[in-house]
């Protein structure tokens, strides 16, 4: 992997990222995310009276569940529908570069949205004794979780021309992976499958990080998840290429 290779990804990704900010979609997305997330958080904040962001990070995965498919749905589907994919893939770039550029630009966009939600920890630390560790963990976990959702959504978007289908399928897929390890699902799971389901659940790994414990197990799980779907994505793109 040389410098040129990364530079191509960077240039492509940057173009994609500015593409978001040039369209109103970005602001609708960020606006919806901030209003809904902050609103739900402050609903109970003063009632509980605790200087903690725990509740925020409890809502976040559910919020991302809707928002990340909204970001990824158009990424491949639109290019395919409008035919620009032919142009993109005839550029002197590899499929991996195209996939990574799209993935990292989407992730950078989510990171920008998360950055704007930093007004919450700033406010809370002003009102009380906010522990920094779990907040750092929460944001890191949020980024990893978003990465996982995005990689799955991106892969699904590459399979279809229809954005709506891409959205719904990505939502269903993310939801499935998120809840499969949750306690309320595990209760009714068969005994032998429960540990595997717990391992597969994006949510159970997320809450582990969000409570302030960075465990190499959880990190590796996220990296594996993201890698797997990006790899599949690259494979799907390259197969279309032959036809």
């Amino acid at each position: 992997m040389n410098k040129e290779y990364l530079k191509t990804i960077y240039v492509l990704g940057k173009k994609e990222l500015w593409g978001y900010f040039n369209s109103p979609i970005a602001y609708i997305f960020i606006g919806a995310y901030l209003i809904v997330g902050n609103w739900l958080y402050f609903n109970s904040f003063f009632l509980i009276g605790q200087a903690s962001m725990r509740d925020y990070f409890a809502i976040l995965p559910w919020l991302f569940l809707f928002l990340s498919p909204a970001i990824t749905m158009r990424l491949w589907a639109e290019e395919k529908k409008s035919g620009t994919i032919e142009f993109l893939l005839t550029l002197p770039i590899t499929d991996w570069q195209a996939v990574l550029a799209k993935f990292f630009s989407a992730l950078a966009f989510v990171a920008a949205a998360l950055l704007l939600s930093l007004s919450l920890p700033v406010t809370v630390s002003y009102l009380g004794d906010l522990e920094v560790g779990p907040v750092v963990g929460g944001y890191l976990g949020a980024l990893l979780l978003a990465g996982a959702y995005l990689s799955l959504g991106l892969f699904i978007s590459a399979m279809t021309k229809n954005q709506i289908i891409a959205f719904v399928l990505a939502l269903a897929g993310c939801f499935g992976f998120f809840v499969v390890g949750a306690d309320f699902v595990l209760i009714s799971a068969p005994q032998f499958a429960a540990p595997i389901m717990k391992f597969l659940g994006l949510g159970s790994h997320f809450y582990n990080i969000a409570k302030g414990v960075i465990d190499t197990k959880d990190l590796l799980y996220y990296f594996s998840f993201i890698f797997f779907f990006l790899w599949l994505n690259a494979r799907v793109i390259s197969q279309r290429n032959w036809q």
């Binding site: 602001y27 902050n38 609103w39 595990l186 009714s188 717990k198 414990v213």
Partner: protein, 512 residues
């Protein structure tokens, strides 16, 4: 023919693709599997809530001999206990790592072996019933989640592992108990209208008995307090002490015993009427440089209490229940890691200058500087308002450590340890769960009965971070909507700016 070849190559490609997917999945699965054997955790929480405290590490490092820990988890446990099991085993792993082989952990599925089952019965680990949803029906499943720690021929049993938050404390205190040369005895004073632990303060009683051997001392029948007792707890006396009884207490202190006094200056009876608590302890206490004032302290920072009026029940901040948050002494291990305690109907305490200069005195809990106090005609109604000129700061709990002289000429000691709290109600069931009251009590007993070491572990279970001050409704609204819409408007504003900037840039070439 051509078509056939095409079909075959397509089929080959698809099969190859499927094989590739399986291969990648296999590698990922293997990597993740190994990551479960070899992992590292970075704990970002301030109290290191999810890793062992230094006290436990030291304890594990300095073990004199081998401790065997058997953990019993039956294989049929409902899935929601999987994370509990994981966390328990993770923490035990940490102990093992630090013990250099002195701690041996064995995980046993008791259902697999009949002999183990009868062993469990004899050890007192109960069979627990769980509801498991199976084939869309709730079924009752019997299982075990217990632990036995053994050291030589002694053993400590944890019948049910329920809560991981106090697990480290449980293990460390059990290890401490097992390896202690002799059990630590805490005395509780009976009679004199003191708190009836088994009726009024069952939770505090249980917490005390978990770690210590508790011995009840009745001065009506015993003339002296046995010196085997490390610390004597006098909680909530309501009747006068005789001089002989006070002398016995004094003798105990002069002999090196520690004293935990939880005494109300004003007693409140069930009908919410208040009267001064005449105990006759003034001489003894002033000999130790302490005065318990016969007053009730009210504070703007107060705990919530519920009141009935007709059919209505309402919860309000009750100024007679001072809530101490910032007034906790950050430098003292007893309270340094607590976030808040609520002391219902507490009296203030004064420390004499002489004792304060000679000894280590810690003002464990102080009210805000906007507190006031009632000294007579006690009116306990919740609608009390402070008068502007009476605002002051009061001490509600203090610790004295060092040199004390007997007020009854029974000698002196250099190693006195004494804590006085102007309240005993906080120990009662229903109030002990408020804030960090339980930890406050346990820390005080630990401080007096044990080394200060164990206190470090307990503070872990505490995760309460209350907001610093009461906010007015308007500032709450400002904070809320500032965060909800303010930031959003900022982001959208940036978007509009960009939009117009781009439009201008696009137009410019045309106008040129």
């Amino acid at each position: 023919m051509m078509q056939k070849i095409n079909k075959i190559t397509k089929w080959q490609k698809q099969a190859g693709f499927g094989l590739n997917v399986l291969l990648v999945l296999g590698v990922i699965a293997a990597l993740n599997f190994f990551s479960y054997q070899l992992f590292h955790r970075f704990d970002l929480t301030n109290n290191k809530n999810y890793s062992l405290s230094s006290a436990s590490k030291d304890l594990a490092r300095e073990l004199p001999d081998i401790i065997n820990i058997k953990v019993y988890f039956s294989g049929n446990l409902p899935s929601q206990y999987i994370s509990l099991k994981q966390e328990v085993l993770d923490l035990l792993d940490e102990y093992q790592n630090y013990s250099k082989g002195k701690i041996k952990v064995q995980v046993i599925d008791p259902l697999k072996d009949k002999e183990v089952l009868s062993e469990l019965r004899s050890k007192g680990i109960p069979e627990i019933q769980f509801n498991v949803l199976e084939k869309d029906k709730y079924q009752v499943v019997n299982g075990y989640m217990g632990m036995v720690l053994s050291y030589g021929d002694k053993s400590e049993v944890v019948p049910v592992l329920q809560d991981v938050s106090n697990f480290e404390y449980l293990v460390s205190s059990d290890i401490k108990k097992l390896t202690a040369k002799e059990p630590i005895v805490i005395g509780t004073l009976a009679g004199h209208g003191t708190l009836e632990w088994e009726k009024e303060a069952t939770k505090a009683d249980k917490a005390l008995k978990e770690l210590y051997q508790v011995q009840v001392v009745d001065l009506k029948t015993e003339k002296t307090i046995p010196s085997t007792i490390k610390a004597l707890v006098i909680a909530g006396p309501k009747e006068k002490f005789t001089k002989d009884e006070l002398k016995a207490i004094d003798k105990f202190v002069m002999g090196g015993g520690s004293l935990l006094l939880l005494v109300d200056g004003v007693k409140i009876d069930n009908g919410l009427s208040a009267s001064k608590n005449e105990l006759g302890m003034e001489e003894l206490l002033s000999g130790y440089g302490v005065t318990l004032n016969k007053d009730l302290v009210l504070d703007v920072s107060a705990g919530m209490a519920s009141f009935n009026q007709g059919f209505m029940t309402f919860n309000i901040e009750y100024p007679f229940w001072p809530k101490v948050t910032n007034g906790l002494d950050k430098s003292n291990p007893v309270v340094s890691r607590l976030q808040s305690i609520v002391l219902p109907w507490a009296s203030s305490i004064s420390i004499s200058q002489e004792v304060a200069t000679q000894n280590q005195v810690a003002y464990l809990a102080k009210t805000t500087n906007r507190a006031w106090h009632a000294t007579s005609n006690f009116n306990l109604r919740p609608d009390q308002v402070p008068t502007a000129d009476s605002a002051d700061q009061y001490t509600l709990a203090a610790a004295v450590q060092g040199k004390l002289k007997s007020p009854y000429d029974q000698g002196s000691t250099d190693k006195a340890r004494l804590i006085i709290v102007g309240d005993s109600d906080f120990l009662k069931d229903g109030l002990l769960d408020t804030g960090d009251n339980l930890a406050f009590f346990q820390n005080m007993v630990d401080y007096l009965g044990l080394d200060e070491q164990l206190i470090g572990i307990r503070a872990k279970a505490i995760s309460s971070h209350p907001l610093k001050e009461q906010l007015s409704d308007s500032s709450k609204i400002a904070i809320r909507y500032g965060n909800v819409f303010g930031i959003t408007l900022l982001a959208v504003g940036f978007g509009l700016y960009r939009y117009y900037a781009r439009r201008r840039n696009k137009r410019q070439p045309e106008t040129e």
